[in-house]
Symmetry: C2
Subunit: 343 residues, 2 copies
DNA sequence: AGGAGCATCCAAAGCGCTTTGGGAGGAGGC
DNA sequence: GCCTCCTCCCAAAGCGCTTTGGATGCTCCT
């Protein structure tokens, strides 16, 4: 049997009230007393009973994730990674998950149910699209939430954590231009996803600033798997005037692209430069590529952890977190980028 | 404010005791009374407060998953799919998840913590290895659990849900042999995983029965991604006497293999036959392959749902489920299999 | 000296459910 | 007719925490 608050209080010769307050950081407790309490907690290994806390406070101490079931996002390699970060953080705080697989047409209902039932204190969504309707729904539902990514268009008055996709791909493109590349291709994520739109924008902007244009035939959108990276690259190489550099929205895509390049008898970094966005997937490290990959890096797992921290922090109202965060992806140069051929 | 038990009882002119008993299926309630109660529940939309139930019963109404963090299993395409099935079922019963990412060396500690803390009523593990030590630990911990897969070696006295991997690959191999194939290759999952060992066993057995041997140079083990499928196939094709048929442990592997075959100027189903195991991933349907794939099929999502059902059923002790289930994978013939060339 | 004002602490009332320990009333046995 | 035994229901006591609404001294001021 675990130690209970009552026993702890008796042990200390204090009331439950005081012990509880000491633990929850209320001011009306003498500093010395609080220290004594904390010491006793350490010694006895006391852990408050979550069920009792839930009942007494009305908080759920759990967070909900609505995971789109369509198009196999669940079996998206990137989703598990994000989830792992989220979970790791949640476990630390003894928070639970309510994972809600939900078809897009049921999403609104799922949100409502979650908000009404009170089974979660806050929820989180991802895979933002342009003008994503979910944000308005969530705002109207008065349940705290954080989105991973940002929508495009519409008011930007909601809590999010995103990486600066535009800047990342802008900077990557600028590097390529500086290296003398002109024909630059983009193998991107699905067209309706916000991050993909922004990355394309970054590329377009950089090209424009240096007086070039993004050739639309050099842009492909698809699910971000190896397979599609390969196909896209292959098609680029078949063009009369193939690109000398390629940007990939994920290392998975890059894997396929590299294969296509090798197959064509070309060398990565010499004949064709590659820069990929690296979500820091443990299974797909850019430094392990036959030619180590230049990347824009931002850890998906860290993002997951951060979202959890913010969500949980908000619920416990401990500490104060920025409502909106835009992480910068570092541009890390490795061997897959080099001067444009003939320069 | 949601309806509470007390209000419901008042409405019905009954005591809370009786209503509670009616809802929880206790026998000492008149059948008519029970019907009245159920009707009132439907009309008022009453839902028992989980926090209160947790406190009163001492049950957690949640299940734990210990997910290995190493080798990027979280970003394994198959994991999310299984999880989705599990989650969908859990949501139906208002159960929570406690997702525990855990490094292999911390796994035992994680199990102990989970079992001791009482934050979960039961847990589930997967990615079984041969002589998997986790089973003994779990048994000693006296916490209900179900494993997805089976260990190899050691007593088989624990609850599991597995597919009959040996039979699946035995039957697939038999089909290939009947079609005249002799040199049969296997692109398998990682060598230490139980399912991979069994699949290889199935292949070996079938070959042996028809008087052939499995050529060890035609067996590759790796993470099951597209990339490795490609590499393996490529190496097979470089052999002086390449295989005329290939078995793949996942459609992802098959995707890569098909690419390597096409690249070599060969035709799937004619020059080389392929059979893959299909976990029914929404993103990778065998019927969408350029040459539709012959597969051994068993839905991973369904398995997840089933594990959840059993776990939850056990906790609520509703209904009774078999302790051990071995699902048969159907062999579905499509166009990727054909007679061995020259036959 | 007599309050006012603060810093600390406590007893007790919930939170919404389950479960224990009866109790009333009718059926059945002798 | 009386007692026993079911059947069906109820009052009340928790489950382990948080929180309200005071108490109790002490210090400080006038």
């Amino acid at each position: 049997m675990p130690v209970k608050l009552k026993q702890l209080a008796e042990l200390l010769g204090l009331s439950q009230t005081t012990v509880s307050r000491a633990l929850n950081g209320y001011p009306e407790v003498n500093a010395k007393t609080r220290q004594r309490v904390l010491k006793a907690v350490r010694e006895t290994g006391y852990r408050p009973n979550r069920a009792a806390q839930r009942l007494a406070t009305g908080k759920a101490y759990s967070i909900g994730l609505v995971m789109p079931i369509a198009s196999g996002i669940g079996s998206d390699i990137h989703f598990g990674e994000f989830l792992a970060g989220l979970a790791e953080e949640a476990v630390k705080h003894d928070f639970h998950f309510v994972l809600n697989p939900s078809a897009p047409e049921d999403e609104e209902a799922t949100f409502r149910r979650l908000a009404a039932s009170g089974t979660v204190d806050a929820l989180f969504i991802a895979h933002m699209r342009a003008n994503d309707p979910r944000i308005a729904i969530l705002k109207s539902l008065s349940i705290p939430f954080v989105v991973h990514g940002r929508s495009i268009g519409g008011p930007r008055d909601y809590p999010f954590l995103d990486i600066d996709n535009t800047a990342a791909f802008y900077e990557a493109t600028r590097l390529l231009i500086q290296l003398g590349h002109r024909r630059i291709a983009l193998i991107n994520g699905q067209e309706h996803l916000a991050f993909a739109i922004r990355r394309k924008k970054g590329v377009t902007r950089a090209l424009k600033e240096w007086g070039h244009d993004l050739d639309e035939t050099l842009v492909h959108h698809s699910v971000m798997t190896d397979e599609y990276g390969y196909r896209s690259m292959q098609r680029f190489l078949e063009q009369p005037e193939p690109p000398t550099a390629v940007l990939c929205s994920s290392t998975a895509l890059a894997l396929g692209a590299v294969r296509a390049i090798n197959q064509a008898g070309l060398t990565v970094g010499t004949d064709i430069s590659i820069i990929a966005h690296d979500d820091v997937l443990p299974m797909l490290k850019p430094e392990n590529f036959s030619v180590p990959l230049t990347t824009t890096r931002s850890s998906l797992r860290a993002a997951g952890a951060r979202v959890a921290t913010r969500l949980i922090g908000g619920i416990l109202d401990r500490g104060t977190y920025p409502d909106q965060e835009l992480w910068h992806a570092e541009l890390i140069v490795r061997a897959s980028t080099g001067p444009a051929p003939g320069k």
